[in-house]
């Protein structure tokens, strides 16, 4: 253990500062997604860990709920809606003096009716004569609300807002859009590394050039091809197979390049020995190269899967906004437009869209990092 120097304390503090700055935004989103939507709209998420004091107005029930007991008429009920966990400590009956009475005390209205409010929100309103008004009276309460979290937002977002379906759709896009390029490119990279054919170097150079070609250069012509294809065969231009192939195309260069980088590190003697023994390239590929490449497949799978899962642009251009096709990112963008002030929906929706990437991130971080580093050191 190194001794505690000024430099080491300073670097620890500096690093801590970075960590806090980086985690706080995500943490705030996560906490907010667990809060009650009414509270979320009026107080910052950082207040949710402490007991807060709030002043609120409620209304009692009206004449329909009255019962007669002995000589008096009563209205007995609770001020709060269901599921509200609050503790009243003072209340009042006029807006001028909202915390006039201690909880449990009895307040007298001008019409000589009496009301007693209890800690848990129960109240008893007593009158000598029959209650005549339909509307109840206003009650001002000062209450303490302890920290409370709920999963209601998740239920709402997954079932009512259609994010559950979008979640499935995203899987239906991302799995094939990751597996298809992996299959195609592993053969391609094998050919580029171990097969001799005319134009190989040119093809490799094309791959390296394609690595950096911006997606935007390809969108308009590919969309035109899809539209023509759709019109020709009378099918929709926007479909799952369509977006799989689009993602395959746009991810092809990087997938091939990463695999090629890996395959050329395999010892060539091994491949040549297999060839001399009479194995075809196909046998060599399936029996020798694929088993050795599993870790690198894993890295590439994760990179491409996360890329597709998080993509917005390709999903917007090549899929319909119909509920059966819309992907998570597009849905989230749609919610940002239509439910811009409903933070309970947005924060929860965003967190739902992040679950899969975060799961992959925390469980397979090693492969993720390995893929990124492999892709960068050379490319």
């Amino acid at each position: 253990m190194k001794k505690l120097t000024f430099t080491s304390v300073f670097s620890q503090l500096l690093l801590l500062l970075f960590v806090i700055a980086w985690i706080v935004p995500t943490f705030g989103l996560f906490i907010s997604s667990l809060r009650d939507k009414d509270v979320l709209a009026i107080s910052g998420w950082w207040t949710s860990f402490t007991t807060t004091e709030v002043n609120e107005i409620y209304r009692t029930k009206g004449k329909e709920d009255q019962i007669k007991e002995g000589d008096y008429y009563f209205i007995k009920s609770n001020l709060f809606d269901e599921n509200q966990v609050k503790e009243i400590y003072r209340f009042g009956i006029t807006s001028k003096n909202i915390d006039e009475y201690e909880v449990g005390e009895t307040a007298l209205f001008k019409d000589e009716t009496e009301i007693t409010v209890f800690e848990n929100g129960d109240y008893v309103w007593k009158s000598k004569e029959e209650f005549k008004k339909k509307k109840g009276k206003r009650i001002f309460v000062s209450a303490k609300s302890p920290p409370s979290f709920t999963l209601d937002n998740y239920k709402e977002v997954l079932l009512k807002e259609g994010l559950g379906q979008a979640f499935l759709n995203t899987f239906a896009v991302a799995l094939p859009a990751t597996l298809i390029p992996l299959i195609i490119c592993s053969y391609f990279a094998y050919a580029l590394t171990w097969m001799k054919f005319y134009g190989r170097d040119l093809l490799l150079a094309t791959i390296i050039a394609s690595l950096v070609v911006p997606l935007q250069m390809c969108l308009i012509p590919v969309l035109t091809i899809y539209n023509d294809f759709g019109a020709l065969f009378g099918v929709s231009a926007k479909s799952y197979p369509g977006i799989w192939m689009a993602h395959t195309g746009f991810g092809l260069a990087s997938t091939t390049f990463l695999l090629w980088n890996f395959l050329k590190t395999l010892p060539s003697e091994m491949i040549e020995a297999a060839r001399v023994d009479g194995a075809t390239h196909y046998d060599t590929f399936i029996k020798i190269v694929v088993p050795l490449s599993i870790p690198s497949f894993a890295s590439i799978f994760i990179l491409q899967f996360l890329w597709v899962w998080n993509d917005l642009l390709v999903g917007l251009v090549f899929l319909d906004k119909h509920p059966s096709e819309i992907i998570l990112t597009a849905k989230l963008k749609e919610l940002l437009g239509s439910r811009g002030e409903n933070w309970e929906i947005l924060t929860t929706g965003a967190f739902v869209s992040m679950t899969v990437p975060l799961f992959i991130f925390f469980s397979l971080q090693r492969y993720f990092i390995r893929g990124l580093v492999a892709g960068s050191v050379k490319g």
Partner: protein
């Protein structure tokens, strides 16, 4: 669609490609046994089987579209009539386009610089502290999040309520606590670009961090120890040994983030959609792709501008590749 039909679709799609390779190779082997042992012929057929699917995809989705987009940039909105340089002169005179170019340049300067800088500093700090790997994990985490998700996270951070109300956005809450007026951050021209860039920096610092971390480990310990024994301060070691050693890595990270930044779309589209002078090329291009039924000419010009931005990097990559091949 139900889970079941989605699963079937997915399965059929993936199996199609598996079977293609399997069956075609199987057929080739089958006929090889029957027919003469013509190795050269067999090999060339197999090469075709191995590369054809990838090559077709590469051609249809990358090679052809690049040239087609360049061609379309000289044609009208439906891509039928040749209009010469009209789309280009339109772009030069278009205020949105000029704004985009300026903003993109701003992004290009600020984001790669700060991401690389933060990444380098954090990698160095974390390397020497026992909880460094946890810190790295946390700072790296935004890399896994989508730009739209990050957009929501930060829109919530930037949320604005009137001066009297309780602020629910952290940034405004801090501003108010320090005695300032709350601000609608995303609507203040010029400054709002910085607030949008912050999101990208927040994400890409993680990338720089992990790559630097890997590279730092390759610096020989003897060199560092020798410097320490000679009495060099940590800061001196950082500037005189680590930075020169990481020169190549810095360059690589810089280019990766530069390419990403040139294409930046999701963040702008989700947060401001180019309002309040935050327009960038990729968002403007998307806009023109669909505005008024789509204008492929103008859209292509804008895409081409993004390509021009990456051409130096493209040339440099090819040059390096060629050098490696010759070694």
């Amino acid at each position: 669609m139900s889970i079941f039909s989605l699963a079937i679709t997915v399965l059929v799609g993936v199996l199609f490609f598996v079977l293609f390779f399997h069956l075609s190779n199987f057929l080739l082997d089958y006929f090889r046994v029957k027919a003469s042992k013509n190795f050269a012929f067999e090999n060339s057929i197999r090469v075709i089987i191995f590369i054809a699917p990838a090559f077709i995809v590469l051609f249809v989705f990358i090679i052809y579209p690049v040239f087609e987009t360049i061609r379309l940039s000289f044609y009208d909105k439906v891509g039928e009539n040749f209009v010469g340089l009209f789309n280009y002169t339109w772009a030069i005179n278009d205020p949105d386009f000029r704004r985009s170019i300026i903003n993109n340049l701003g992004w290009l300067i600020v984001v790669p610089t700060l991401s690389t800088f933060f990444g380098l500093v954090i990698a160095n700090l974390a390397d020497r502290i026992w909880w460094g790997s946890i810190a790295k994990s946390i700072i790296f985490m935004p890399m896994a999040i989508s730009f739209v998700g990050a957009g929501v996270i930060w829109k919530f951070m930037y949320d604005y309520r009137g001066p009297g109300d309780q602020q629910i956005g952290l940034l405004n809450a801090i501003a108010v606590a320090l005695g300032f007026e709350p601000q609608a951050w995303l609507t203040i021209p010029l400054w709002n670009n910085l607030f949008l860039m912050a999101i990208m920096i927040w994400i890409q610092t993680g990338l720089a961090l992990v790559i630097f971390s890997a590279a730092l480990r390759s610096i020989p310990n003897e060199t560092l120890d020798a410097a320490r024994i000679d009495g060099a301060s940590e800061l001196k070691i950082f500037w005189s040994i680590i930075i020169p050693y990481l020169e190549q890595t810095i360059l690589v990270i810089w280019t990766i983030i530069t390419i990403l930044v040139l294409k930046v779309f999701d963040i702008i589209y989700a947060m401001t959609n180019g309002q309040w002078q935050t327009e960038v090329l990729a968002n403007l291009m998307y806009d023109w792709m669909f505005r008024g039924g789509g204008d492929s000419g103008r859209g292509s010009v804008l895409a081409f501008c993004i390509l021009i931005g990456v051409i130096p990097i493209l040339a440099w990559n090819l040059y390096r590749h060629k050098q490696e091949q010759n070694v």
